[in-house]
């Protein structure tokens, strides 16, 4: 008889999530991931000024706001047929890359570390309940120090976002045409100088820390793998002069890497309260069916060629050939740290190629009508915005976030990506299932992104039964 485990809240993530797991013979045999917050951004966007989508959609997420400013800007440029200059691309990709550093530093130190490292007892905030800590005191103490020291570095990463973006979270600098500010030599050198300290910290502290954790928790190389289907929309790729600095739009399944084709994305929704009645059409506004007793989450189920795909740093490291050790909870965490190092190198190249004194802005005219999409990889993986415009107003807006890929609902054949990854996870103590949290956090969930974006409808009392 399987034992049922509920974890709610899954803390140290952005937003609110519940995990239900059935544990039999000491391992997870079945799991559900549920997103438990709803705001309805897509519905809010209908009728608004298309230009406002850039600053508005950022507010979906406080930890990765820059991601949404990128995707919405790309979507509007696609609607309006605007070609961005290479220098404009460099500058906004620099802002976006700086956001990667803030996210990866904070996710590794503030959100992941307390799963593996015993934190000082004098901070009630940082005391966990489980007792599976294995690091020798010397290493444990060193990583605790780095937990606190990292705060200065993640803060400086957001300072980098602000230098060209105005402020962070919720920058103003990324906009149609590239960026709003011009590069100047004082700003470039300021960025390079901050970048240098972040890069040193990543190489000298963060990398040894993650490999020490991997050494003492080696079974996590065998836990939390999942489907092994990986997808990226590409990031820092196809520059005219610089080529691809990181990863092209690619997918990996059954041992083959093939080019990504956006037409093969569909959204199924058999187990979500939010239904897309035209799964192939991403310009279709979703509706709700909260009476569906099969449904258990607001997160829909994006599929590529009808299969669930994992997105994020491990997918990108794998697809770009930088890291192919394996697909597991530990590999995911290592890939995130390696990616932070890689992003430093990309940012350095972009900053060195930036030319000062170019104004990227024009007086833009809203399209009378049309549709377009903005697909780009961001911190947590592949992010897409699909927008259609009519009478100079937003007619439909659809957002598929990275956490919607990773924490998607199941379909009739497949559990969701994280649900599948949890199957087989050993659980020593059902009262303190620390293993489940470790697997889930390896994906870096952002439920603020994954759930609230769907249109909320008439929500009946079945919610109480299902949630």
């Amino acid at each position: 008889m399987p034992q049922k485990i509920t974890i709610n809240p899954v803390t140290r993530i952005s937003g609110f999530m519940e995990i239900n797991a059935d544990v039999d013979n000491g391992a997870v045999v079945n799991a559900k991931t549920k997103g438990l917050m709803f705001r309805g951004f897509e519905q809010m966007l209908v009728g608004r000024n298309p230009f406002d989508a850039v600053y508005f959609t950022e507010r979906i997420c406080g930890i990765c706001s820059t991601a949404h400013s990128m995707a919405s800007t790309l979507a509007l440029e696609s609607v309006m047929g605007i070609e961005v200059t290479e220098q404009g691309r460099y500058l906004r990709d620099i802002i976006h890359g700086s956001e990667f550093l803030q996210n990866h530093l904070r996710h590794f130190f503030q959100m992941t570390i307390p799963d593996y490292v015993k934190m000082p007892q004098n901070f009630p905030l940082l005391n966990a309940r489980h007792n599976d800590y294995r690091l020798p005191k010397e290493i444990n103490d060193r990583i605790v120090k780095n937990y606190f020291d990292s705060l200065e570095l993640s803060r400086s990463a957001h300072q980098m976002v602000a230098i060209f973006g105005g402020k962070a979270p919720h920058n103003h600098g990324i906009f149609i045409g590239g960026a709003t500010m011009q590069a100047t030599s004082d700003k470039v050198i300021s960025m390079l100088s901050i970048l240098d300290s972040i890069q040193t910290f990543i190489e000298e502290k963060m990398l040894p820390d993650v490999y020490d954790i991997a050494k003492y928790y080696p079974e996590y190389y065998q836990i939390g793998g999942g489907y092994g289907n990986l997808l990226s929309y590409g990031i820092f790729d196809h520059y005219k002069e610089l080529g691809t600095l990181y990863v092209d739009p690619l997918v990996y399944t059954n041992g083959d890497i093939t080019p990504f084709n956006p037409d093969r994305i569909a959204e199924v929704s058999d187990y979500s309260w939010c239904k897309n009645l035209e799964p192939q059409d991403l310009y279709h506004q979703p509706i709700e069916d909260t009476k569906d007793l099969k449904a258990y989450t607001w997160v829909k189920a994006p599929r590529y060629e009808n299969k669930p795909f994992e997105v994020g740093p491990l997918a990108r490291q794998w697809l770009s050939g930088e890291y192919r050790n394996g697909i597991s909870a530990m590999d995911r965490t290592i890939a995130r740290v390696l990616e932070a190092k890689k992003i430093c190198a990309v940012l350095k190249t972009l900053l060195e190629n930036l030319r000062p004194g170019i104004n990227f802005q024009q007086v833009y005219e809203v399209s009378v009508g049309g549709k377009g999409s903005g697909l780009i990889d961001t911190t947590r993986g592949a992010l897409g915005h699909w927008v259609s415009v009519e009478n100079r107003q937003i007619l439909t807006y659809q957002i598929i976030t990275p956490s919607a890929w990773n924490f998607c609902a199941r379909d009739d054949e497949h559990p969701g990506v994280a649900e599948r990854a949890l199957i087989g996870t050993p659980v020593q103590d059902v009262k303190d299932p620390v293993e489940i949290g470790r697997v889930i956090r390896s994906f870096d969930p952002c439920i603020s992104c994954a759930t609230h974006v769907y249109t909320a409808g008439q929500y009946v009392k079945t919610l109480e039964v299902n949630v």
Binding site: N8, R12, R39, G62, F123
Partner: protein, 292 residues
């Protein structure tokens, strides 16, 4: 303390002075107040902004100023143990900081923040219980202050600010997000002297009393009718829809992220994120000549 002169109290240094005084007091008395950071229906961007705080920073806040008990984004415990820790503060002296709006739809079920004995804990029930028990309640950011983006029309989750569901005084620190100094300065004031002087909408006067327009470094362009025609221009953003004239906040002198930049210096208009009514009352954010 020259409370009656907002210009004086807005100086950047003022925050560090307040915080240092608060730290000294905590050290002398040996007793720190508990702080609970409650995330509700929002983007959790205000805790990220707090992590961006610089002189004072989060490390100082949690070592020297307060006993930091709970925050969903940071707390080590999870599940029911985390919920126990959250509600353990009831009955003691604690300050409640809330970010995100309160979703009222379906009695709060649009935002579930945890589970206690199998029952879902809604944001609405948590803020009501904790808000009634707290010594002070601070609404951090636009959503907690007045609904903000979470409550933007058509407001599908029926989001409102914290004050709408509590019968007691709530100190509002609007902004999207709240600048870490606005929160930490308010917190330091409370620790030292109690409730800070507030305006008619319960915003601390030391931050929210002078409009951006009054202290904008581009004010001379406005006075001389030199207006930006597009984003990226380095003159007055008024005709692009700048909300500086109606937004009382200290961005021009404080700036953001280690005081390096702010939206107007970024060659874009202020979108009034620190004013009540944001975003709906502040849109459109971007227009190319509002006077046309």
């Amino acid at each position: 303390m020259q409370q009656n002169c907002p210009g004086y109290s807005d100086r950047r240094k003022y925050i560090s002075e307040l915080v240092n005084a608060a730290i000294n007091q905590a050290e002398t008395t040996g007793k720190k107040k508990k702080l609970v950071w409650l995330e509700l229906n929002g983007c959790s961007g205000n805790i990220i902004s707090l992590l961006d705080g610089f002189e004072p920073n989060l490390e100082y806040m949690m070592t020297a100023m307060t006993d930091f008990i709970y925050c969903n984004s940071l707390v080590a415990k999870e599940g029911s143990a985390a919920m126990e820790q959250l509600f353990s503060v009831i009955g003691s002296d604690f300050i409640l900081a809330v970010e995100g709006a309160v979703s009222k739809r379906e009695n709060g079920l649009y935002n579930i923040i945890g589970r206690v004995n199998g029952t879902a804990v809604t944001g609405l029930s948590a803020v009501t219980r904790l808000g009634e028990a707290a010594e002070y309640v601070i609404a951090v950011g636009a959503c907690a202050s007045h609904g903000g983006v979470s409550g933007a029309k058509p407001n599908p989750s029926e989001c409102v600010g914290v004050q709408k569901v509590l019968k007691r005084r709530v100190i509002n620190c609007p902004g999207c997000p709240c600048n870490p100094d606005w929160f930490l300065g308010t917190l330091a004031y409370i620790l030292l002297y109690g409730e800070p002087p507030l305006d008619s909408r319960n915003r601390p006067q030391m931050f929210y009393s002078i409009t951006i327009h009054d202290r904008c470094p581009r004010r001379s362009y406005f006075d001389n009718n030199i207006f930006a025609e597009k984003l990226g221009d380095q003159t007055c953003m008024f005709k692009l829809g700048c909300r500086g004239p109606i937004t009382p906040i200290d961005c021009p002198v404080r700036m953001w992220n280690n005081h390096v930049n702010w939206p107007v210096k970024c060659d874009t208009p202020c979108i009034g994120c620190a004013q009540f009514g944001f975003p709906d009352a502040m849109e459109p954010f971007i227009t190319y000549n509002t006077t046309r």
